[in-house]
Amino acid sequence: MSILKTNQIQTTAGKPLLNSTGSVIQIVSSTKQDIWSGGAYPNWGTVTGLSVSITPTSSSNKILILGQVSCSAGYWEVKGRLIRDGNAIAGAMGAPRGNRAVATFVMNEYDGAAVGYGMYCGHINYLDSPTTTSSVTYGVQMRSYNASYSIGVNYNVYTDDNADTYYGNGISTLTAIEVLS
């Protein structure tokens, strides 16, 4: 067993191969398989078990957040937003317009049928600049369309697990990738 130590590896053209801008420094990931519910309007509910903590090695490095949230609404619409240390990230949400709420992803559908509201998959793909070398925690918050209904994560709140064999449950994931800047 031998150990090779060097400051840098370059291509024949002199371009750094390791530790160059854009290199991946570390990856942390979270997968949520069980279900969650909450986030009845006007409250933003933090999804339990869907968070990642990462400590950037340099304050100038970026954190690429990738995620998917399998979710459903009891009524009309689903909103989700990316949070850092419990707070919404302004740059990861839409620009304010009138009275509309802003979020990272919004899904709105009404199928018009007597039964059934759909499940959705909210996607997150955001390059964050936390400008710190302290641990930061990313998570997801959800909010429903009105106060009478909740959001369901990984399952369809409209259906009944015990009674229906027609519907499925999904998973939700959140991944943080530190990228050298």
């Binding site: 069980d34 279900i35 986030g39 078990g49 209904y149 909740s150 399952y155 709140v157 259906t159 027609y166």
Partner: protein
């Protein structure tokens, strides 16, 4: 295994809560105190009773899905109307009624 969203929706609509998993143990309650206008956290007994009601409700409502899966295609009706074929329209209606008779709406639904 329960459906927390449906239980809270029925017991405390609009409440600020979070429930991880399907059981009462996963329920976190973020409502302000009752004397400040908040809603009281449901007890386990309320939770269990509501879930039993929900299961019964789902079972009784299963006739809707069974009907939906066996209803004839709506295009049969439209096609009959377009062609002015009263017999085809009536055949569609008869098929629908046969499905309704096959899967009647439980009267017990009115009392839940």
């Amino acid at each position: 295994m329960s459906n927390p969203a449906k239980i809270i929706q029925a017991l405390r609509p609009g409440a600020n809560y979070s429930c991880n998993g399907t059981e009462y143990e996963g329920l976190e309650w973020f409502e302000p105190p009752v004397w400040e206008g908040g809603q009281r956290k449901p007890t386990r007994e309320e939770w269990d009773a509501e879930w039993e009601r929900q299961k019964k409700l789902a079972e009784l409502n299963s006739y809707k899905m069974k009907r939906m899966l066996e209803y004839p295609n709506i295009t049969e009706y439209i096609d009959g109307v377009v062609k002015g074929d009263d017999a085809q329209v009536q055949a569609y209606i008869d098929k629908c009624n046969a499905v309704k008779i096959k899967y009647p709406r439980p009267e017990e639904l009115d009392s839940l």
